[in-house]
């Protein structure tokens, strides 16, 4: 990765030049090419009963994933056996993603029942359902009758 120095005080630079310098780069320029193309994106949603974590990791197989819970950390890792290399007789003319191996770690709270986490891999998305413990689920308000 190249480190690009930005000096806003160099003469002849307007503010918009500076903005262009800072924002006209893709994320891959800023954090290094590898991280942006090899780390899949994650969505997390919440319902009353559970959290759902979706990892967009296309092109892998169910057996490539390894999901582990260690104390309060959920570790999702994947490594694809490099069978691709044998068949890749062609050369790359463009490469925008490469999810051969990655690792992402999430902090999970006490509210989650770690032994009841379910995972499935479908159409390139790994979906994990993390159920909440009974006692933290939002309960319907109970009405108290006045005697």
């Amino acid at each position: 990765m190249n480190i690009v120095k930005v000096n806003p005080f160099v003469q002849g630079r307007t503010f918009s030049n500076l903005i262009d310098d800072v924002f006209n780069r893709s994320i891959s320029d800023l954090v290094g090419n590898d991280l942006a193309t090899t780390t899949p994106s994650v969505n997390v949603t919440e319902t009353n009963d559970n959290f759902t974590l979706e990892v967009a990791a296309p092109g892998l197989d169910k057996k490539d994933f390894n999901i582990a819970v260690e104390k309060d950390q959920l570790i999702i890792s994947a490594s694809k056996e490099s069978q691709e290399e044998e068949k890749s007789e062609g050369k790359w003319t463009r490469k925008e993603f490469n999810y051969k191996s990655f690792k992402r770690t999430f902090h999970i709270t006490e509210a989650i029942e770690a032994d009841k986490i379910e995972a499935r891999y479908e159409n390139g998305i790994l979906t994990m359902v993390l159920p909440k413990r009974e006692e933290v689920k939002a309960k319907a308000p109970t009405t108290i009758e006045i005697k």
């Binding site: 969505n43 997390v44 967009a56 092109g59």
Partner: protein, 86 residues
């Protein structure tokens, strides 16, 4: 091309002259509460300009594990003809 969450029903591929257009669309419930959102593939469109020397009627597409594979064959190169001088 990475199309996570799609099966073949959500993807439309069209070819107009040398413009290859790939459009994806799927319905997703909007009432979900996101705590973290790093990707959104509910709609996308990508346009590729194909070079002249491809066989436009022989493009093959498959979707597998969230990856759309398109195989575009190059046009067969006609062998050079030697013109003999009489």
């Amino acid at each position: 091309m990475a199309v996570p969450g799609y099966d073949k029903s959500g993807i439309t591929i069209s070819l107009e002259e040398n413009k290859l257009k790939i459009v994806g669309k799927k319905e997703e419930s909007t009432d979900r509460k996101f705590l973290m959102k790093e990707f959104d593939f509910t709609t996308f469109q990508r346009l590729f300009y194909l070079p002249e020397d491809v066989q436009k009627d022989k493009i093959e597409a498959t979707v597998e594990n969230g990856i759309l594979h398109l195989v575009i064959y190059k046009a067969e190169v006609k062998p050079a003809i030697n013109v003999s001088i009489k």
